[in-house]
Amino acid sequence: MSAFEATVRQTDKAAIIDLRGLIDGGAEQALNAAYAAATATNPASVLLNFSDVEYINSTGIALIVGVLAQARKAKRHLSTFGLSAHYTEIFQITRLADFMGLYPDEASALSNNAS
């Protein structure tokens, strides 16, 4: 099993990318590929599921900034759910939370990101 995996689920309300493992420099290719797959159907919202993410470093933050930049350029909502308290704090410190919704779970994320 690689250090990072990302799989895409499509729902009627949003595309969901389930992230697993370590989000660092090694996650770049898989994350970008997953985002491309998630947006292939041009959903209005994309949700990043961090429930199974063990570790995010500053390079991982940069990757998420890159994904967010792509989403904003396409005028697409990008939200997250399942972030631990620590990474929620980091998303707040980095001000990523100002540009993407942070929800505790999938249900609340979906209810706030209806297509």
Partner: protein
């Protein structure tokens, strides 16, 4: 002839009370007052001197036809008869007589009588001259000795009475004034923020003037240390205060260093002083910083440098009394010799005795110390064989290890530090922050410090003191760690800036304090988490 000239010159042109006694007798036809006792400067080349060397005995002045300034002066003073006073073959004075009161010429009996008188009187006059010379010499010597006593007293009063106690550090000094007492000084300054100042200086000149300038410099540096934190700024302040008042042709060389005992960071600035040496596992290096001596010109700027002292590192501060000592062949001890000796020695406090032994061997047994000699050794306590050891004040090293600069090793560092600090019962949220800070700092060291070169290690030290948990992460890079900046997220999202550049910003936000230090070969990020107080309770 030398005695003759000295004796005569001593009296000439001085006040009556300063003149040597009776080199010239009163002239008979003048009032008997002390004003008639005159001194005469009889130059060795004066023909009159040559005459008396060849023809000792009473002579009538009118019978002398010499182009002699001394003779002219004697004539003008009314002398008629000159009786040379000779002792042990040297002309030591003249007995000059004016006209007889009866206006008759001096008879041959008078001449015989005067010659006999001169023969009898000359030894007594000579003895009186010698006694007087000796008295003057004794007075001069006593004055010099008294001055030396005062100078020594000033110096010894102002030198530190005891060595500083810094846990994790050892300090030793040696101070030996030369007989003439130069202007060496050293000082320790306890700074309010837990740092510690070391001063070594040397005032040009000797004796009381040097001691007074030393006392002023010491006081100014101490005052400066309370106003400024930077060694360069303190020297600048001292220079500007000393310049207007320091006596002409005097100046002060001075090395000012500030140690953070907790981190090993040593900042220093140099006002024209001999460069200190650092002995480390990498060898011996000069701690080079440049600047003009204090008191020469106002408005000087002082270069400021810093190094990170590692366990077992030794720094030697010293004055020129060591390196400028000469051996019997007049060869100087010198800087290359000193550096070579330090390379051959393991370092530590024993460095002082080692160097003194080497100095004694160099100068030989009959050496008279030429200048003050001051040595100050600062050593960071070596680690115990089990890898643990004392850190700074109240510190206990929990762990230290090194990792190759390979991607992913930041997690290795993070996990090991987490294991080490587990017994400290740090609240989980703060532990998570520390985890991120350690990982980011290690990654910064791997990527930016060591440029991902696996053979360059990242050194990690975990320690506690009474109040803090401290993690030091050191790279082997030459590029300084930049100041953290707040990333511009809008610019990054707009594609105007790289999405990267979060590391230092995150580290600083994750810990209670982040300190950066380094030198040309190492850079250290020090992460501090308070273990007590409100921040510790905050989760």
């Amino acid at each position: 002839m030398t005695t003759l000239l000295r004796n005569f010159k001593l009296g000439f042109g001085k006040t009556q009370s300063e003149r040597p006694q009776a080199p010239v007798a009163p002239i008979a036809d003048r009032p008997r007052s002390t004003d008639t006792v005159r001194s005469l400067d009889l130059a060795p080349t004066d023909p009159l001197a040559a005459y008396f060397r060849s023809s000792p005995g009473v002579v009538e002045i009118d019978k002398l036809h010499l182009d002699s300034p001394a003779l002219t002066e004697l004539r003008e003073s009314g002398a008629h008869l000159i009786v040379p006073l000779v002792a042990q073959g040297e002309l030591i004075g003249l007995l000059n007589l004016g006209q007889r009161l009866s206006d008759q010429d001096y008879s041959s009996d008078d001449h015989v009588l005067l010659n006999n008188l001169a023969t009898q009187a000359s030894p007594a006059v000579r003895v009186a001259q010698l006694v007087r010379e000796q008295q003057i010499e004794v007075q001069q010597r006593e004055r010099l000795e008294q001055e030396l006593r005062v100078a020594r007293l000033i110096q010894q009063t102002l030198l530190p009475k005891e060595l500083p106690t810094l846990k994790g550090w050892q300090v030793a000094t040696y101070y030996q004034p030369a007989r003439a007492v130069g202007g060496d000084f050293y000082d320790f300054v306890d700074l309010p923020d837990g740092r510690f100042g070391f001063v070594v200086g040397d005032v040009t000149d000797k004796g009381v003037p040097a001691a007074l300038v030393m006392a002023s410099t010491r006081a100014i540096l101490r005052a400066g240390a309370q106003r400024f934190t930077s060694p360069g700024a303190i020297l600048e302040y001292a220079n500007d205060l000393l310049c207007p008042d320091i006596p002409p042709n005097m100046f002060v060389t001075c090395l000012y260093a500030v140690l953070d005992p907790n981190t090993g960071r040593l900042q220093f600035a140099n006002a024209g002083h001999d460069l200190p040496y650092r002995k480390s596992i990498a060898g011996v290096e000069e701690l080079r910083a440049t600047g003009m001596p204090l008191g020469l010109m106002p408005g000087m700027r002082y270069d400021e440098r810093e190094v990170m002292l590692q366990p077992d590192d030794t720094v030697l501060f010293y004055t020129d009394g060591l390196v400028e000592a000469h051996n019997p062949q007049r060869e100087m001890f010198g800087f290359p010799h000193l550096k070579a000796l330090l390379e051959d020695h393991p370092g530590g406090l024993a460095t002082i005795n080692y160097l003194l032994d080497q100095l004694a061997a160099f100068t030989g047994p009959n050496w008279e110390q030429e200048d003050d000699a001051t040595l100050l050794v600062l050593q960071r306590t070596p680690l115990a064989p089990d890898g643990r050891g004392a850190g700074g004040e109240g510190e206990h090293i929990l762990d230290q290890f090194s990792l190759p600069s390979e991607a992913g090793n930041e997690r290795e560092a993070m996990n090991r530090v987490m294991t080490v600090v587990e017994p400290l019962t740090i609240p989980p949220a703060r532990l998570a922050r520390l985890k991120t800070a350690v990982a980011e700092s290690t990654m910064n060291a791997i990527e930016h410090g060591n440029h991902n070169q696996p053979d360059l290690p990242v050194d990690i030290q975990v320690l506690t003191n009474n109040t803090d948990l401290i993690v030091r992460i050191t790279d082997r890079g030459s590029v300084p760690v930049p100041d953290p900046i707040v990333p511009d997220l809008e610019a990054k999202l707009a594609g105007q800036q790289s999405p990267r550049g979060w590391g230092l910003f995150l580290i600083e936000k994750m810990v209670d304090e982040m300190r950066v230090s380094g030198d040309a070969h190492h850079h250290t990020l020090e992460l501090v988490m308070h273990l007590t107080g409100g921040e510790h309770e905050r989760v």
